[in-house]
């Protein structure tokens, strides 16, 4: 045995395989990569804002103060408080609304991606694996959906289902599934013919197990990146639908609706109304993206030594 082989064998010995050691490896690798730590920190902060926004916010997000409307950031507000990030056209505190807004925006963003991803991945796997009429049916359904402007379909659905956060999530999720289905289908088509899939079949694995246990882990990598980008478009779509009165009611603050409202005052140089919710969305997307990218590398056994 050569020296290198001895080294590799020793390395193989110390490497555990339990979830605890995986977790340790995850944190070690994450700290080494630096950026993912910041991403996690921001998402944690946003999640805390989403859950505890009511306690953290200095003001009631819907408390109007027409005297102090469009106040600059850092000016003093009522009751000795400070408008940290300024106030909007109705004199509401932007910072408080941002904290509250995290709740709807993050819930909708995350849940819609989960719904769309689940439908899309399942459809893509079935479509790619079985082919034939099922493939035709699923892919043509996707084509039909993509032939319509999404917002039009969403309006139609929401008019029928009624507005509300959960319906919004379902509709936005359905709006995303085709992207996932197409990517997953393409990857499944190529993996289906691989010998290791054949080997699973020869071993007597069930079709279900082959699809979800053998094929699925091999196609997740590109999806993490796509999902992280999708979060942004979903948050903005939520704003558009809420603006049309089909999402959440106007008094409930969301990042998207804050952005939508800011366009009237942007020309008057009231930049903070657009910038802060915009930055919040951007940081969320960036964090998801960094995390998705990192997760992809982390999950790839071929990159283990480098990560």
């Amino acid at each position: 045995m050569s020296e290198i082989e001895v080294g590799v064998a020793a390395y193989g010995d110390v490497r555990g395989s339990g979830w605890r050691s995986e977790l340790q490896r995850a944190s070690r690798v994450m700290v080494a990569a630096r950026w993912p730590v910041l991403a996690v920190a921001f998402l944690l902060f946003a999640a805390i804002a989403a859950v505890f926004g009511g306690w953290l916010a200095p003001f009631d997000p819907n408390r109007q103060n027409l005297v102090l409307r469009l106040a600059d950031p850092m000016t003093s507000g009522p009751d000795g408080g400070v408008f940290l990030l300024g106030s909007d056209a109705l004199g509401r505190d932007v910072f408080s609304r941002l904290l509250y807004g995290a709740r709807v925006s993050l819930t909708v963003g995350f849940a819609a991606i989960t719904v769309g991803g689940t439908i899309g991945i399942t459809a893509g796997l079935l479509s790619g694996y079985f082919g034939g009429w099922l493939d035709d049916l699923i892919m043509r359904l996707g084509d039909i959906q993509l032939a319509f402007p999404f917002i039009l379909l969403a309006i139609m659905f929401l008019v029928v289902l009624g507005s509300g956060v959960w319906n919004l999530i379902i509709v936005l999720g359905i709006g995303q599934w085709v992207t996932y289905a197409r990517i997953v289908r393409a990857d499944t088509l190529s993996l289906r013919e691989k010998e290791f899939v054949e080997a699973a079949r020869a071993m007597g694995d069930s079709t279900f197990s082959i699809i979800f246990r053998t094929i699925l882990p091999n196609i997740l990598a590109p999806l993490t990146v796509i999902a992280s980008f999708n979060v942004a478009s979903v948050i903005l779509s939520e704003a558009a639908l809420s603006f049309l009165g089909l999402g959440v009611p106007p008094e409930v603050p969301t990042w998207g609706s804050m952005l939508a409202e800011s366009r009237d005052t942007l020309v008057a140089n009231k930049w903070w109304l657009a910038v802060f919710p915009g930055v919040a969305i951007m940081l969320t997307v960036l964090s998801f993206n960094i995390l998705g990218d990192w997760l992809r590398d982390f999950l790839d056994p071929r990159l283990r030594e480098r990560t």
Binding site: D13, R15, S17, A199, M203, G204, P301, R302
Partner: protein
């Protein structure tokens, strides 16, 4: 060697792949990958299946394991016609017949550790108590010449030869009676080929395995096989005990193949028979004997009548009009 009972009996196996074309994607033709192949594999025996690329030998291997559904014919394994098993029955039956794949780089899931690969095979067929499966995995690793320390590695951390050993360990995990080895060494370096072949023949003796050994190289087959079947364009041309086939080939095609095998003795030179042209398209095979278009000795009868396999010696069958009297040139 006494004749042993048949473990696998393949009868009249046919596989046609549809060729689609035209605007409506209709079936316009068929590739006759396997046409009317019959053979048996006896218990404890290694049958070699040899042929050029496109001769249908891999398809035969896959049909025998029912990884592909045959167009016609039966595959009887230990008295059970596996073509008639339901899907669930077939899944359970797979414990008895396994396969070793050609490409060791494609046959292992890149995201599964070796432990998972073997553990899953054991769990799937309820072999041993869950607690003892780790020991069984170690035993298998040692059996194929790998170490227990390598169980927690991923496929990309192994060389081609090592990967093929993992493939063998996976096939052996369920204690099969029968293994199809589909060109198990053709993707490996020549220096590693011999090691893997030796491993296979050792394991065969140790575990009393029955094997269908598919290869395109007669030299490789000679060392492991008891009997050899030569395939050409979806048909078996000749089937004989290995020694007889190498010593006294009957079919002109076998002769041509053998003449291409280098001999170790410099003085003893075989007459080189170079076949001209390519293997004909299996969509439109020649009439009569499929080999006649490239056969150096073809006569009129070859185009008219399809030769059947006929006995030309002890346990020796050949499908040729011209040499059937047992007098090879």
């Amino acid at each position: 060697m006494s004749i042993r009972e048949d473990l696998l009996r393949v009868d009249g196996l046919v596989k046609h792949f549809p060729v689609r074309g035209g605007a409506l994607n209709r079936v316009v033709n068929h590739v006759q990958a396997v046409s009317d192949v019959s053979f048996t594999v006896r218990r404890g025996e290694v049958l070699g299946l040899v042929g050029e690329s496109g001769s249908g030998k891999t398809t035969v291997g896959r049909l025998v394991l029912r990884l592909e559904e045959a167009t016609a014919g039966t595959v009887e394994f230990d008295g059970t016609n596996i073509m008639q098993l339901s899907k669930a029955e077939m899944r359970r039956f797979r414990k008895r017949m396994q396969i070793i794949f050609q490409d060791p780089f494609a046959s292992l899931n890149p995201r599964e550790r070796v432990r998972t690969v073997i553990g899953h095979a054991l769990a799937l067929h309820n072999i041993g108590a869950p607690a003892t499966r780790g020991d069984r995995a170690i035993e298998l690793m040692e059996q194929v010449g790998l170490s227990a320390a390598q169980l927690d590695r991923f496929p990309h951390e192994f060389s081609g030869g090592q990967r093929q050993r993992i493939g063998i360990a996976r096939a052996l995990a369920v204690n099969p009676d029968f293994i199809v080895a589909d060109e198990p060494v053709s993707a490996l370096d020549v220096s590693v080929q011999a090691q893997v072949i030796n491993l296979l023949s050792d394991l065969k003796d140790e575990l009393d395995l029955t094997m269908l050994f598919i290869a395109h190289d007669l030299a490789v087959v000679e060392h492991v096989c008891d009997r050899v079947a030569v395939m050409y364009l979806g048909k078996i041309m000749e089937i004989a005990p290995a020694a007889a086939l190498y010593d006294k080939p009957n079919h002109p095609y076998t002769e041509a193949l053998l003449s291409a095998v280098p001999t170790p003795e410099p003085g003893k030179k075989r007459k080189r028979i170079a076949l001209t042209g390519d293997i004909p398209s299996p969509i439109d095979p020649p009439s009569g004997c499929v080999f006649r278009s490239r056969c150096p000795r073809a006569e009129a009868i070859c185009a008219e009548k399809t030769p059947e396999l006929e006995q030309v010696g002890p346990d020796h069958f050949s499908a040729c009009h011209l040499t059937r009297k047992g007098q090879p040139s």
